[in-house]
């Protein structure tokens, strides 16, 4: 069921009154029922995958919590020396670790088998002698809806419960845990919520609040506008550009990566706006996932502002533990002996950064394109990190580098650098992507663009005008949000007027109906 479909509108129209009328302490159960129905629309068999995830995590985390309770009771009843107490705690921790490993094995195992078996089999088949044919088509599974997102969310929950010092944080109801994992507004493309944040708001009984409802509706309509006015419209042009590399090389590669940047932003942030907005219509506050990323002055800053919950997930659950792991600590110690203090200390962080970014790439998709994409992000971030002392002396020496014009240059540089890295997301194959990027330098052919412009991309002039005006609207709204001036539109008449205007604009100018495919969000395929 697409967020942009009439069936979803009908689904909301039934669920919202049920939620608020039949509510009270059982409200969250209505949300759970709605989430499971929504999920079942993607294929009832998918419920088996998400069910296995919920049950395995529930068993593991409750066992971990039981062990923690047993430890508290035992230590309270027995007077142990400090050394004995430490030894007992270590024993309990080891047992809790076993439950964590078992749960991660199940959850990451499902993700690995379903998402990566086909990719692994394809690569193995290539290594076979040319005469040996190996059919790998049957090993490419259909991805259950939101698999990567809900798996990461539940893995985060498992690790948090393992790290928790008290048993109270653990959820003792399998159904409440099921709602945390399957909450329908965020199942398609995140954000990847933390248990500690979402539990504060997901299960709270509430009455209908006009302010929350209208603010949520406005946000959801804004997201719908981004999706239908900009993303779905421009995606058609991006597909035309990337489907025929022999025709659209040189300058058209720049057009493709630029249009894809705008499309992906409108699609993903539009989807998140809908997620945050729909959740708020139910009174639930979901974590924000973006902070105007295209205003970033560096790639590292960009990743602190784009898909924030994914970045913090990788930082907290992979980068930090890996950097402080014994093998990398030993590597650092050996590095200090061999290379000296300065470089030796950097080795663990470099390794952890590259592993984290390669994993981020693989999380996005089972293909070599995403491996290269992740590797490039890691390399650029590491180089920028090592150049910080140089940047500091540069800014101290040259006054112009501290002006807003230079900042604008940095923002543009980051935007285009990300455009080039993102090109691995749109062309089929690493080799083709490299050839297309090289064609920008070798066969720019600006004359073709000057003569034909955007007309060969299959969109009418009116499409570009609508998309351009809608992007202008997105920029203005972004500036209003950044200035914290949203409260000016908080009065019910202003909100109602804005909702009406957005709904009419989207209905009249949106890219849907005959001639357009109803499209799932781009990030859903990750």
């Amino acid at each position: 069921m697409l967020f942009t479909s009439f069936s979803f509108l009908l689904f909301l129209a039934l669920l919202l009154p049920a939620y608020y009328c039949l509510g009270g302490r059982r409200q969250w159960r209505i949300l759970l029922a709605g989430s499971l129905i929504f999920y079942a629309f993607s294929g009832w068999r998918n419920l088996l995958y998400i069910g296995a995830t919920v049950v395995s995590s529930f068993i593991a985390t409750t066992r971990m919590a039981n062990l923690l309770e047993r430890q508290e009771t035992y230590l309270a009843e027995h007077r142990l020396s400090a050394a004995e107490s430490k030894s007992y705690r270590r024993g309990i921790k080891r047992r809790r670790l076993r439950w964590l490993i078992a749960s991660l094995a199940v959850n990451l195992g499902i993700l690995a088998v379903v998402k990566y078996t086909g990719f692994a089999a394809d690569n193995l088949a290539r290594l076979l002698p040319s005469g040996a044919a190996w059919e790998t088509g049957g090993l490419h599974f259909l991805l259950p809806l939101g698999l990567s997102f809900y798996t990461f969310q539940v893995v985060g929950y498992n690790i948090d419960m393992y790290r928790s010092k008290t048993a109270e944080a653990t959820e003792r109801s399998v159904f409440r845990l099921a709602l945390f994992v399957s909450f329908f507004p965020q199942i398609i493309q995140g954000p990847i919520s933390r248990w500690g944040d979402l539990r504060q708001t997901l299960f709270t009984p509430r009455r209908f609040c006009a302010d929350d409802f209208s603010a949520g509706l406005l946000r959801a309509l804004f997201g719908l506008g981004k999706k239908l006015l900009v993303a779905d419209r421009l995606l058609a042009a991006v597909r035309t550009l990337t489907a025929d590399p022999a025709e659209f090389y040189g300058v058209y590669v720049l057009v493709a990566v630029f249009l894809y940047a705008v499309t992906l932003y409108a699609d993903f942030t539009g989807g998140i706006d809908m997620t945050v907005g729909i959740a708020r219509m139910f009174g639930v506050r979901v974590t924000e996932n973006f902070r105007r990323p295209f205003y970033s002055a560096s790639i590292a800053e960009y990743w602190r502002r784009w898909h924030i919950t994914m970045g913090t997930w990788f930082r907290d659950y992979l980068f930090y533990p890996l950097s402080l792991s014994r093998p990398l600590t030993r590597l650092g110690e050996s590095g200090v002996k061999l290379l000296g203090k300065y470089w030796g200390r950097r080795l663990p962080v470099w390794c952890a950064t590259m592993v984290t970014w390669l994993a981020t790439g693989v999380w996005h998709g089972a293909s070599w394109n995403f491996v290269v994409w992740g590797g490039l992000n890691g390399v650029v971030i590491l180089i920028s990190q090592e150049l910080i002392p140089l940047y500091k002396s540069f800014h101290a020496r040259w006054a112009f580098s501290n002006t807003k014009f230079y900042h604008a240059f940095q923002v543009l540089r980051t935007f285009w650098l990300m455009c080039f890295i993102r090109s691995f997301d749109i062309y089929a194959g690493v080799g083709l992507t490299c050839r297309m990027l090289l064609s920008v330098a070798a066969r720019f052919d600006g004359g073709r663009f000057a003569a034909a412009g955007l007309s060969p991309l299959g969109l009418a002039a009116a499409d570009y005008v609508i998309a351009f005006l809608a992007v202008g609207g997105m920029i203005i709204v972004g500036r209003v949000q950044a200035a914290g001036a949203e409260s000016r539109f908080a009065a019910p008449p202003a909100r109602l007027a804005l909702c009406g205007a957005l709904a009419v604009m989207t209905l009249v100018f949106g890219a849907y109906g005959p001639g357009y495919d109803a499209r799932q969000f781009i990030y859903n395929r990750f």
């Binding site: 930082r315 533990p321 402080l324």
Partner: protein
Amino acid sequence: MDELLEILRDIQPDVDYEHCVTLIDDGHIDSFALISLITSINRVFDAEITAEDIVPENFNSARAIMDLIQRLSAE
């Protein structure tokens, strides 16, 4: 405390560690610096700071870091 301040200044020299209480919140110490800091603390103080202890409250000030070291050594 002096040893800790020395480590902090070695990793990130331009910060007033005696007064700053927003080392993480205001980005004075980023992820890279944080890892170097923890590795050095673990080595010098023979402590066992792990990823589980990486929350802003534990690293926002030199005092908080010192408290963490003392807490871990007492456990």
